[in-house]
Each structure stands twice: as structure tokens, then as C-alpha cells.
């Protein structure tokens, strides 16, 4: 776990989601109108500060990928605003977004499918560099390519190879090289490790940490692997069915989770130490869109401490264990005055 940084109140957030919602239509019946909608993201506010890593965790279908795409303005929110260094970019056209695109990059789970199989590494990286940089001649371009590869731990000799000639870990390094080629200040990493073996995951985690130190990039790190999120993030947001249910500094969240869902989630994570086997409080049921309750807290059908009013009133995110430990639960304690 890392020290919190950049969370001072006077610093302007690098990117901020303000009460953002995204509603997708589903279930079109024949020619008739759309008759069902799902709220993939429901009134979420989340800020990422310069050089900070915010972890976004939750199970499949909780809306974490959608939220990442809203931050990048790859999706347009149904309601709410997205700000980049204070500037509202919610309604900007594709053309007017271009200068912001350079500052915001993304890396994906499967680096293979996000690389064009017909482009060599040189082509793929040059494309990114030329889009955003003024390089005067081929020599400058080559120098920049070599520096990029070295930065992500690959040999410049690999420049003329095609994606299929690389292992999974190397491909992810290329994906990262392409993302940092344009010198972004914000990077969304959407499950960047899930396709990689354990020993390679650690290499990529270290690379991300080094790049943040050298270049001051802020990360929104989306993952279902709580061990890695806890290790890499300064702050962590836990999502459940489209809502952020808990947001706190990483060490606080892992030491003292407050929301019953966070508690169950953390209790489910296997501990790699046979001496610390724990008695599990198993969460029954599964997350499914069909189980989204009409009213009240979205977690109440699976919650063991839910009461009658939890079924009717939706809890908002508010300070709980401490002023910067936010929890969306009616039963969470309020901070000591």
C-alpha cells in the first residue's frame, strides 16, 4: 500500500466525474421501442489527482469499465459532468476533444487484441508519436522510439517485430509504451494484468510504479484483483451495481472496511498464507442485473444487516470512519465530532 499523495483540498483534481450516470438501453423487442434500460453507472462522483493512483474494484457487471470509459469520454454520460483539470469536457465534440485525448490514455486487459497484427512495433509506436509530437526528422523519431522501448523494459532490437512474436507480458509492455508515447497525464488501466501469469504481473506492476514516479502519470486502475489494487493504489473505490459504495485511502479500506459488501468482498479474497486461513463469511447469491432492486440500497437483498428502510431509501456516499473514508450505507457509523 502506498502513501496518499495529492489529495490536498487546494489541488485541482486532474480528472473528475461529478454525479455521472450512464444508462444503456437493453431488450429491444422486434421493431418496438426499447422497453428496458440498465443503469450501468448511477450518480458516481470520483476524482483523480495528479500522480495519484485510484483503484476501482468490483465484480463483473458492477460498471467499473463503463466508468473508466466515461472518464476518458469514450462514452458520453447520460447525466452529470466530466472535468479535466477543471474544464468541463462532457459535451465536447470529437474534434474539440482531440487536445484532451493526448492527455488521457488507456491500456486494456488483452494487449494482443488492442495491437494491430499487421503493424510492427515501430509502426504502431511511430503512429502514436507522430500524432502528438513534432519530430523533425527520422533520427529524432528513432531516438524517441528507442527511449520509449527502454523505458518499458524492452530492447530496441525488437522494434521491427510483429505483435504475434511477443509473449503476453511483452505485449502489455508495448501497449504501455504506446500509451505513454504521447506523454499523457492520466492513464486508465482496465484489468491490465488479468491475462498475465503471476510472475509477469509483478513485472508489469513494477513498471507502472516506475512510470508514475518518472512521469507523474495518474492512474485509474480497474481490477478485480484486490491484492494488487491494495498494493498499487493510494485510494480505492468499491463499486456495486453501478454505485460507488465505499471510497477511502487504500490502507484504511483494507484495514477497516465499513460497507458490508466491501467486508464480504475482502473476506472472499484467498490469503496466500496457510497459517492465516480465515473463517469465511460467505456472501450468498450473485451480482446480476436482474437482481437490481427497484428502490433503496442496491445491496439490500444480499445484506445481512439490512433493515426495512434500506429497502426504500438509497444511501448516499458520506464520511464514515473518518472524514476521508466515505461509505454509502445507512448503518455505517458517522465520524466522531
Amino acid at each position: 500500500m502506498r502513501d496518499a499523495s495529492g489529495t490536498d483540498k487546494d489541488v485541482i483534481p486532474l480528472v473528475a466525474a461529478e454525479e455521472v450516470s450512464k444508462i444503456f438501453p437493453i431488450g429491444r423487442r422486434g421493431w418496438s421501442r426499447v422497453h428496458r434500460y440498465i443503469r450501468a453507472v448511477d450518480r458516481v462522483s470520483l476524482e483523480v489527482f495528479p500522480a495519484e493512483t485510484v483503484g476501482l474494484v468490483g465484480e463483473s457487471g458492477c460498471g467499473k469499465t463503463t466508468l473508466g470509459r466515461l472518464f476518458l469520454r469514450l462514452l458520453k454520460p447520460t447525466a452529470g459532468r466530466i472535468r479535466f483539470v477543471g474544464e468541463d469536457i462532457t459535451g465536447l465534440s470529437q474534434r474539440r476533444l482531440r487536445p484532451f485525448r493526448r492527455k488521457m490514455q488507456v491500456i486494456f486487459q488483452d494487449p494482443f487484441s488492442s495491437l494491430n497484427p499487421r503493424l510492427t512495433v515501430r509502426d504502431a509506436l511511430s503512429e502514436a508519436i507522430l500524432q502528438h509530437h513534432s519530430v523533425r526528422n527520422r533520427r529524432e523519431l528513432n531516438a524517441r522510439l528507442a527511449a520509449l522501448l527502454e523505458m518499458v523494459g524492452l530492447s530496441p532490437r525488437m522494434l521491427d517485430r510483429f505483435p504475434h512474436e511477443f509473449s503476453g507480458g511483452e505485449r502489455q509492455r508495448i501497449g504501455i509504451a504506446r500509451a505513454v508515447a504521447v506523454e499523457p497525464s492520466f492513464l486508465v488501466a482496465d484489468e491490465p494484468l488479468s491475462a498475465l501469469d503471476v510472475s509477469i504481473q509483478a513485472q508489469i506492476v513494477n513498471l507502472l510504479i516506475d512510470l508514475q514516479r518518472e512521469l507523474g502519470i495518474a492512474y485509474l486502475f480497474i481490477s478485480h484483483d484486490l491484492n494488487i489494487v491494495g498494493f498499487l493504489s493510494h485510494r480505492v473505490a468499491v463499486m456495486y451495481l453501478g454505485r460507488v459504495v465505499e471510497l477511502a485511502r487504500s490502507q484504511d479500506l483494507f484495514r477497516e472496511p465499513v460497507h458490508p459488501y466491501t467486508q464480504a468482498l475482502l473476506a472472499s479474497v484467498p490469503v496466500p498464507d496457510p497459517k492465516r486461513r480465515k473463517a469465511k463469511v460467505l456472501l450468498s447469491g450473485e451480482v446480476a442485473l436482474s437482481t437490481v432492486p427497484e428502490t433503496g440500497c442496491r445491496f439490500h437483498p444480499r445484506c445481512h444487516i439490512a433493515e426495512e428502510f434500506c429497502r426504500h431509501v438509497t444511501p448516499d456516499l458520506r464520511p464514515s470512519a473518518s472524514p476521508d473514508h466515505l461509505v454509502a450505507c445507512h448503518k455505517a457509523p458517522t465520524p466522531a465530532a
Binding site: S167, V198, S199, Q203, V205, D210, V269, P270, V271, K280
Partner: protein, 333 residues
Amino acid sequence: MDVSLQSEAMLRVNDLSVVFSTPEGRLRAVDRVSFHVPRGGTLCLVGESGCGKTVTSLAIMGLLPKPIAAVEAGEILFDGVDLLRLDEEERRRIRGDQMSMIFQEPTTALNPVMTVETQVAEVLRVHRDLNRREAREQVIELIRLVGIPDAEKRLAAYPHQLSVGMKQRVLIAMALACRPRLLVADEPTTALDVTVQAQILDLLHRLQTDLRMSLLLVTHDLGIVAEIESLVAVMYAGQIAELAPVGPLFEEPFHPYTRGLLDSIPGAQAAQGGRLKAIPGKVPDLHSLPGGCRFADRCSQAFDRCRIEEPPIYAMGDRLARCFLCESRGRRP
């Protein structure tokens, strides 16, 4: 449960080698692998992609893809009988009956156009020769056993109407239909969310105890391994690198690869100045293996001999490891 090296074996694999014919030539995906699954106990087969753990489990089940893969040498003793000496018909009769398997991807393992009842009942009708009504009763019982609520109603469901966790439960029900003595589970929770993973692991553990079943659990996740009282075989590039009971293995790994895997998990070890202790490099290509130890190129403790000579397996009391560092305290078995 006795899960030491000396425990009585339900399944014993001796010097198993599996070769693949590929366009680039013959490739030995599994190389002289030996281990046993204790009777009523668990063996965890751990390793990263391409280490041969799935190929080993397919060889045990007799499900290697033909004709490109074949067992080259070795024995697979199931309750003392060498499965490799049986003909195809005899193996088919054992498979799904006395030993069965569950896979990683529950969605692709089920037939999308057959109901839950039809798929589970098929196993019983093939192996137990039951008629439709007899099978139905047992299917309902099985569905309850694996913790699916409203068993009677779920019988008519098609796979797409079930969540991933429920599909995995249906597959477990199919695997358990004939009360097998050995269950091979290949990454049974990899496709699942953590809370569902915890449910399924809990279910497997309960079923194993109740049915006194032996379990071969194939996984890449050392976190899962740590939670199960078991013998653990760590595989690397087609070979067993280390074999030990779970407690001692996590306490003091003997093979540098095992040590490296444990260090790669955040939280397992104290962070080194905010970074993880990663294993450098990558797994060697099985087509062009290094001359000596297969792990030597990535090993921080490797010395000259490791690059020239392949280390044998050394036995140290309850444990085995393929590493020269164990030479002084071990003996050649």
C-alpha cells in the same frame, strides 16, 4: 487427512511424459512428472500458463487431443490399475463414473440447447443405465447437493438462463453424478468473481469431505492453494519443480521458482520499497530449452553448474525439489 508424501494414493503418476507433434517438431509438454493424489485428500497442481499442468490432467483423464498429443512414457495408476494399459472402451467406462473432471469455462462446457435436467441425466443414463424417471429423482438430489435453490424449477432451465456461478454448480453436479472417487478440477474458479469463487471452493471442500472423494486441483492461484489442506506440486516448463505439503511449502519454499511465485503476490511478503519482487524474464520456449536447469536464466541463485547440468529431484523428508541448492540436505530418491 494425511497429505504427506507417504500417504496412501488414490492416483499415482509415475514418470509421465507427454509429447506433442507440432509443425516445428516434437515437443515434450510434460517431462517425467511424478506425484500422487492421497486417498480422500487433495493434490494441488500449480504453475503458470504452458507449464504442463492442464496437459497432465488431460492425460490422466485420457482426454489428450489426438493425434497431436500422446503419452510417451510413464504410468498412471488409478487405485493400483495402470490406466495407460486399458483400451479406449475401458477408459471410457471409468471416465465420468469413477473419475470425472470439471473445467475452467462453465459457459462453454455446457450444451446451450439442452436443459439442465437433460445434461445431468445423460451422465446417469450412460453410466448407470437409468430410465428417465429414475434419473430425474437423482438429478434433483444432485442439484440440491451442489446448492442450487429451487432444484425442481431449475431442471427445465437452459444454460443461458443461469449465472456463471450456477453453471459451474451444474457442471459440478454432472461430475459428481456417479459419485466418482477422483475429481479433477482444472481452474474451476478462474472465470468467477471472488465472492462466487469463495462459494464454489467452499462447496468443493464440503462435497469432498461428505463424499470422501480425492481431488486433483489444477490452478495458477497460490492464494487458493494456501486455503486447502493439500499436497502441492509446483510445475515449471513441463517438470515438477517442487512437491511438498502446503504448510511447509509456504513456510519455506525450497525451489527458487516457488519462492519467486510467492514473492510476486502483493501482501504475501513485505513490499520492497514500494515495488514487488518480480521474477525477471519469461518462461523458456519448450522448443529450445536451455541445457541445464530450466529455471536457471530467471534464477537469482543460479551458478555455473545450473546452466550445464540438469538438476535431479532431491528428496528431503516429506518434500521433493529439483534444484542443486538442495543437494547438501537432500538425497537422490
